[in-house]
Symmetry: C2
Subunit: 269 residues, 2 copies
Amino acid sequence: MILVNGEAAQAISALDRGLAYGDGVFRTLRTRDGQPLWWADQAAKLAADCAALQLACPDADLLRAEVARVAEAGEGMVKLIVTRGVGARGYAPPAGQATTRIVLAAPLPAHARADAGDAIVVRWCSLRLARQPRLAGIKHLNRLENVLARAEWDDPAIFEGLLCDEGGAVIGGTMSNVAWIKDGALFTPELDACGVAGVARARLLRAAARHGIPARIGRWHPDAILAADEVMVCNSLIGVRRVARLGDATWAAAGWTTLLNEALHEDQD
Amino acid sequence: MILVNGEAAQAISALDRGLAYGDGVFRTLRTRDGQPLWWADQAAKLAADCAALQLACPDADLLRAEVARVAEAGEGMVKLIVTRGVGARGYAPPAGQATTRIVLAAPLPAHARADAGDAIVVRWCSLRLARQPRLAGIKHLNRLENVLARAEWDDPAIFEGLLCDEGGAVIGGTMSNVAWIKDGALFTPELDACGVAGVARARLLRAAARHGIPARIGRWHPDAILAADEVMVCNSLIGVRRVARLGDATWAAAGWTTLLNEALHEDQD
C-alpha cells in the first residue's frame, strides 16, 4: 500500500521536484505489527535531513500514523519519502512550504530477516564517492553514486560493497554504514564530506558508549579495516551484521557484533 | 500536456527509480511550431547520457514524434526525462531494459524569449561543486547541488549564478555553461569532473571553429573570467547571452556574443 499526502495512491505528479531534481529525502525503516522500529530516531533524522535542505518536515505523529496504516502484518519495512513537491519549472525552490510525502510498505527483504544468518561477504567498490559537505550525511534522493556502485557486482553471495572517497578514505557501504573493532575500540568513518549517517550507526555509537566501548570517528584507509579484529555493517533493516569476508580478507567471530546487535535494541522506542 | 511512455498522463509510479534515486537523465529543449530545435544534437546527447548510466535510450524518432505531440504552438519548450523505470527495491539496477520516458511541454520562460534582451547580470555562488568523474557532463536527475546553488539568491535581476569546484576552478552556471573571450580566443571550462556539458556549449564550440575563433578548454579560476574581454552563458533555451555584470565587474559589448549567438543557429536541424 502507498499513501501520497495521506491518500491511497500509486502515483505522484510527473512534475514533482523529487523526480525532476531528486529534491527530497527518505527513510527506510523496519516495522513490526504495524509499528515502526526506532521511531524517535527515525523521526529525528528525517527532521534533520529536511532542515538541511530547508524542506518542511511533515508532522512526526502524522507520519507514524501513516506508517501504521500501510505496514504489513508481522515483520515488514516502510519507506518514507519527502520531496519539495510540485513547483514551477527551474531549480529555484518555490516559495512556501509545500511538500509531497510518500509512505509505502514492502515485505522485509530476505537478507533482513532474523533467519538470514549472521556473517556476510563484502567487497570493495571501485567508484569513489564525491566530497560534498553540503549534502554529506543526508539521506537525500540523489543516489546515482549508490546505483553505480551497486551495479559493480551481481553475485548474490556478496551482500554489500564498501566505498572510499576520492582521497581513499573509507566512507561506508552502498546501503549501510561500516564499523570495526580494533583493540577493544569501535571505529567508524567521519561522514562530514560524503556518505549517509544512518540511524543504525547513531544507535551503534550510543550502544558502544553504554557498554564502555570507546568510539573513534575519523578518516581511515582500507588498511585500517583489514587490520581490524571484527568488521561490521549496519542499517535500519539489518541491524548490525558481521563481515566474514572482505575481498581476500576473512575474520572469525570475536563476539563484538553479537553484543552490539543486541545492544542496538536496548533503547527500543 | 504530458506523455508518460507515450500515453497522456499527469503522473508516474511512486515506485519509479527516477524518484527513488534520481536514476535517470533529462533534456530541456526549445520548440518552434511543434518542432524541436537542434534535435540531432539533443538526441545524440540524450543517447550519450543514457549510455553513460547504462540506460536503454528510447528511439529518437519516437521521441521526436512525442515532442511534436506535446509542443505548444509557436515558441515553446519541452522537457524529456528518461528513468530506469519501476524496479525492485534496492540500488541494484534491475535486469532488463525497462525505462520510463516522460515528455512534457511548458511555455517558453520569459527569460528565453527573443525580446528578453541581450545582456544579463550574474553572480558567484558559494556552493562548491563536488568532483565526480563518473557523473561529470551528464544531465542526470541528481540535481540537488543546482537546487542549493539556485537557492542562494532571489533577486529577479540576477539571471544566473556561477559555480566553482572544490579546487576553485570555474565550472559553469546553475542552468547554463559559461564561456568567455580573451584576446580573440574562446575559453570554456573542462567538464571532466563536474558540471553538465550542454548541447548549446557543444554548438558554441563548433560555431567558434567555423568562424576561425580558437577554443581553449581547461581549468581556470575566477580571475580568468574577470580578465576576459567578453563573458557569456549559454543553454538550449536562451542560446548565448552576454554577461554585462558579474559581481562587481562589468563589461561593455564587444560583439562576440552577437556573432556567436547567430553562429549557434547556422547548422540548424
